[in-house]
Amino acid sequence: MENTSNHIKMGVRAKGFNILSIIFIAIIAIACVTPFIFIVSGSLSDQAAVAVNGYSLLPQGFTLEAYKTVFKMGKSIPRAYYITILITVVGTTLGLLTTSMSGYVLSRPDFENRNKAAFFIYFTTLFGGGLIPTYLVNVNILHLNNSLWVLILPSIMNPFNIYLFRNFVKSIPNSLVESARIDGAGDFKVFWSVVMPLTKPALATVGLFLALGYWNEWFRCNLYIKNPDSYTLQYLLYSMLANVEAMLRDKGMAGSLQVMPTETMKLATAVLATGPVLLFYPFVQKYFVGGLTIGGVKG
């Protein structure tokens, strides 16, 4: 009897705890997205109202003026979209191919030199030349400055992704590989037709990491690219933050500078630069979380 009432009491307490937890997590989750809401509503606000009242959760005097001005500035935004999509697609494809091949070979127990190869990769995380020697190699030896390849090649592979893929492949039973061998498949055929189809979560995870890196690229664009026609979206946004006035002046719109929605324009560009990622990721989140946790990533 006492036991039952105890359990009922416990049930009430557990319910209370559950409700408190939900409220608590909801507050944190909302706090995480609030900055984005401010940005979106700011981009849809009237510049004059923002200048007086500051930003708010809801747009003030709803207007698309900022977006219109961004597109009036000429081809820079569509051009940056094109460059960003190009490096994202090319970089992610090359990256997935090379990362999966290396990760697969490093996972093969019959490949005696796998540990040597793994150390060859691992050593680069222990010690590196640093930013300046890297810059000088890229510019003086590889002559990559002002080329789109400088945005693509240096990040197609990294130790983290290779290890993630290797660890994932290790979880595939070796007997599958062996039986394909007995059926007469060569090493590459085994990799391509037997292993690859089974590694979708790892491919999705590595692919998302790669695509995200390329989409958000601004640093190398800042260092190596001088031609505004090759700016990535993020770098275009970054250079706009400092120079909206200068850019408008270049476009001969300086006369109307007073009424230009410069601040809301920056937010509109921010929305345009981030929108695709935020719309896309909930769809791949399932694979992403799966790949991350099964790949057992270290460090």
Binding site: M10, R13, A14, F17, S21, I22, I25, I28, A29, I30, A31, C32, P35, F36, I39, G42, A51, N53, Y55, T98, M101, S102, Y104, V105, E112, A117, I121, Y122, T124, F127, G128, G129, G130, L131, I132, P133, Y135, L136, V137, M157, G186, D187, F188, F191, N216, W218, F219, Q234, L241, E263, A270, V277, L278, P282, Q285, V289, L292, T293, K298, G299
Partner: protein, 318 residues
Amino acid sequence: MIEAVTNIPIKKKRKRFEDFRKHKTYYFMLTPMLVFFLIFAYLPMPGIYFAFLDYDFVKGIGSPFIGLKNFEFLFHGGMDSIIWKLTKNTIMYNIAFIFLGNIAQIFVAVILKEIKNKYFVKTAQTLMFMPYFVSMVIVGVIVYNGFNFNYGTANNFLTSLGFDKYDFYQNPAVWPYIIVLINIWKGLGYGSVIYMAAILSIDESIYEAAYIDGASNLERIRYITLPLLKPTVIMLVLLSLGGILKGQFDLFYQIIGNNGLLLDATDIIDTYVYRSLAVDFNMGRGSAAGLYQSIFGFVLILTVNKIVNKVSPDNALF
């Protein structure tokens, strides 16, 4: 006996060839990786030599060799030296990121585990993951619009409460808090997913047994989740301590930029090296600071690995 000795090199050579013949597909598949790391990771390594030059863009590698002069400049002044300020900032920020970040992530993961409504958990995770996906340029936009003097959200909030406006961008003291907060915000979703996975791998029957014995939620957290999570936490924290000298360039640069007023509190090794390259054009000094970071960082990782080897050899890096 003699025969066996003389046979060794030939055998070795033949073995190497045999290995290559047997695995030529494997080697073929590894070629892109080998070329990639040779070019982009190993080729810059000899560049540490620049740290000993008075680097001149025209002369390049032929610039005058000045020994340790660049290091003398960085280390000059003891506690007031540039390198001490940079090291202190880099390490203090990273320690705050690691400890506060992990505490927040564990906290969220532990509570998420107790929530029964799976749809809510998934939605919350999706929302918390959002900041991870935006670029640091966007983070810079968010911070600027939050804290600028004229129409920043923080100042609007202050004035609406009847306080005076506060000029954040003139006051270095507040920036460590802002930067740490932003970093926690950005890493919360990712980190809590990792911890959530560790928690979900705990045997569910332990929780059921505890439930039958009448344990409350808090007791289950206190006596099951946290103790079983402890090894994972220790490992992740230890491993991240190995990288304590590597700063997050993007984060600091996009939030602070080259704002000289704030640099005392926010300059880290990585931002200093960047400014040497792109603003001051002093490649020698920048390379010296970079080399110091690489070597000190290398020693740190070796030390951490030694400790991990003692605590739990399975998790050691090498």
